[in-house]
């Protein structure tokens, strides 16, 4: 057991090093202008601007963000931005999971609701984020409840949840409907009501379906947060940082990669959080593991 875990850790380290090695290998052997077929570039350029050395990226992390006096060290600035974005992504994930579950319950309870709502759920994901971002912002700012003020970060969380709710709604619905007729017959024979059947049968049975959806929702919430930060124009997070640093790419190419590492870090952390949650629900995941 322990050796298996140690092996898994070893291989994930080897995987990361492998990617770094591939990066450097390609940079070493491919021509500066990349590989072109006719006029189309099929493999990327390998100049230091397009593909800085791995060690340059790492050393850049330990230098100040800008030359201005009192500027933070880059890794610290990235970490702060990552924490800010992660906070919003977690909020978006929670909102998305809650609304996805509620939708699934609604669709499970009433067949008509399923036929009425499910097409909209699917359709909702075809609307580009960039199109809904300004809408959410405008609707949000129209809300006036006493001292409550709609902030930009709230818009970002709402957009993140808009991406996160979809896999949850679809998988939860499948999970809630997964108990075989023999099981629902049994609960009917026990004269158990809808609520009892939900709590004792349908919800536990939906956990194996829900786990992959929660992971997907976490990834979506992170992507949604980063993209929405850009579309809404919310500073302080990874999204804006990527745009700001990209502007300096020609002069300081290694710096561009720092916030991308930050985004990867958020993704890993959120996947880890969901995995932790899954461990807590372990007893509901016995036996079959549906796709």
């Amino acid at each position: 057991m322990r050796t298996a875990r140690a092996q898994a850790t070893l291989w994930s380290v080897v995987g990361v090093l492998g990617v770094a090695a591939l990066w450097e290998l390609y940079k070493a052997i491919a021509p500066d202008d990349g590989v072109t077929v006719g006029t189309v570039t099929v493999l990327p350029r390998t100049t230091d601007i397009a593909m800085p050395h791995i060690w340059d990226m790492v050393t850049r992390l330990f230098e100040p963000v800008t030359r201005a006096a009192g500027a933070d060290v880059l890794w610290w600035a990235v970490l702060q931005a990552a924490a800010f974005s992660l906070g919003i992504a977690v909020l978006g994930w929670v909102l998305g999971v809650v609304s996805g579950m509620l939708l699934a319950l609604l669709m499970q309870r009433w067949i008509t609701a399923e036929s009425a709502v499910l097409p909209w759920v699917v359709l909702s994901q075809t609307v580009p984020l960039i199109a809904i971002a300004p809408l959410v912002k405008r609707w949000g700012t129209a809300i006036h409840l006493g001292p409550f003020q709609w902030e930009n970060w709230m818009s970002v969380a709402v957009i993140a949840s808009y991406l996160a709710f979809f896999p949850v709604a679809v998988s939860a619905l499948r999970g809630l409907k997964s108990p075989p007729q023999a099981d629902t017959d049994l609960f009917h024979a026990y004269a158990a009501g809808w609520w009892t059947t939900l709590v004792r049968l349908r919800l536990p049975a939906s956990v194996p379906y829900l786990m992959p959806a929660l992971k997907l929702a976490a990834a979506n919430a992170v992507v949604g947060t980063v993209v929405a930060e850009v579309s809404i124009g919310l500073g302080g997070g990874i999204g804006r940082m990527i745009i700001e640093f990209a502007a300096t790419a020609s002069g300081d190419p290694a710096k561009t990669w720092a916030p991308i590492l930050g985004a990867v870090l958020i993704g890993l952390l959120s996947a880890g959080l969901v995995a932790l949650l899954g461990r807590g629900l372990g007893r509901f995941r016995r036996g079959e593991v549906p796709a």
């Binding site: 023999a182 004269a191 016995r286």
Partner: protein, 270 residues
């Protein structure tokens, strides 16, 4: 037999299923049957004869089309709400996330029995089915026969006076099956519950039952009722001449006027 002594009274029941294309399937036609308290009655017949349907009507899992069914003098709905019967299906249908004990306690839990009383009852039942050592195991750690025993213990959790069993041993191998039959006989003698037992197997029906109800399809109906009055049901009965007479009686009733050499499909002679 007086009406109060009857566990189940079925009179003139018809069941028609409407198919999605607008057709009708006459699953049961004019079925009448009375099951006395403490009596073991098997329903046997080829596939499509409506034996499972009949059991589901008694359990109030499907509504009758016409006719009436009374369980202990009450409507089936009332009997279901009062938990007058226990039920077991062909698939054990244990909840995989619950331990053996928690599965047995499920109906008690749903009906608000307090934890200590649940624990006492599940201890009793675990001893009865001989799975005390498996109380904290999960269903995926059990063999098919063990799972079925747990399902039967669960059906008895609330000490019902009526047990409804739909081919509970259908998925088991022959050895396990005979063993389970012996255990069921012992359990029924202990609890004194009436049983309606749906089966495909002639020897199983003969071995277990006070009466075997023979049914035939299109439309599903009762064609014969065979009384069996064995003095005791143990391993010796399986080799007894009376047992074979019973098997022969049920078999010829099943074949009825039809071609005796082929026999009805879906009935096992083993």
């Amino acid at each position: 037999m007086s009406a109060t002594r009857a566990a189940v009274t079925i009179s003139g029941v018809d069941k028609v299923f409407r198919t999605r294309k607008g057709g009708e399937v006459h699953a049961l036609s004019d079925v009448s049957l009375e099951v006395a308290a403490g009596e073991f009655v098997s329903l046997i017949g080829p596939s499509g004869c409506g034996k499972s349907t009949l059991m589901r009507l008694v359990a109030d899992l499907d509504p009758v089309t016409s006719g009436t069914i009374e369980v202990f003098g009450k409507s089936v709905e009332q009997a279901r709400k009062d938990q007058d019967y226990g039920i077991a299906f062909q698939q054990a249908g244990l909840l995989p996330w619950r331990t053996v004990r928690a599965n047995i306690e499920l109906p008690l839990e749903i009906h608000g029995v307090e934890a200590r009383a649940r624990r006492e009852r599940s201890d009793e039942l675990l001893a009865l089915i001989g799975l005390e050592d498996f109380a904290d195991h999960h269903p995926d750690q059990l063999s098919g026969g063990m799972k079925q025993r747990v399902a039967i213990a669960r059906s008895m959790a609330e000490r019902p006076r009526l047990l409804l069993m739909d081919e509970p041993f259908g998925a088991l191998d022959e050895m396990t099956r005979e063993h389970m039959q012996n255990e069921l006989v012992a359990l029924c003698q202990e609890t004194g519950a009436a049983v309606i037992f749906v089966t495909h197997s002639i020897p199983e029906a003969v071995f277990l039952s006070d009466r075997v109800v023979v049914m035939s399809p299109r439309p599903g109906r009762i064609t014969d009722v065979i009384d069996l009055s064995f003095s005791s049901r143990d391993e010796e009965l399986r080799e007894d001449a009376a047992f074979y007479e019973g098997v022969t009686a049920v078999r010829s009733a099943l074949h009825g006027g039809a071609d005796a050499s082929s026999g009805p499909r879906g009935v096992e002679n083993r």
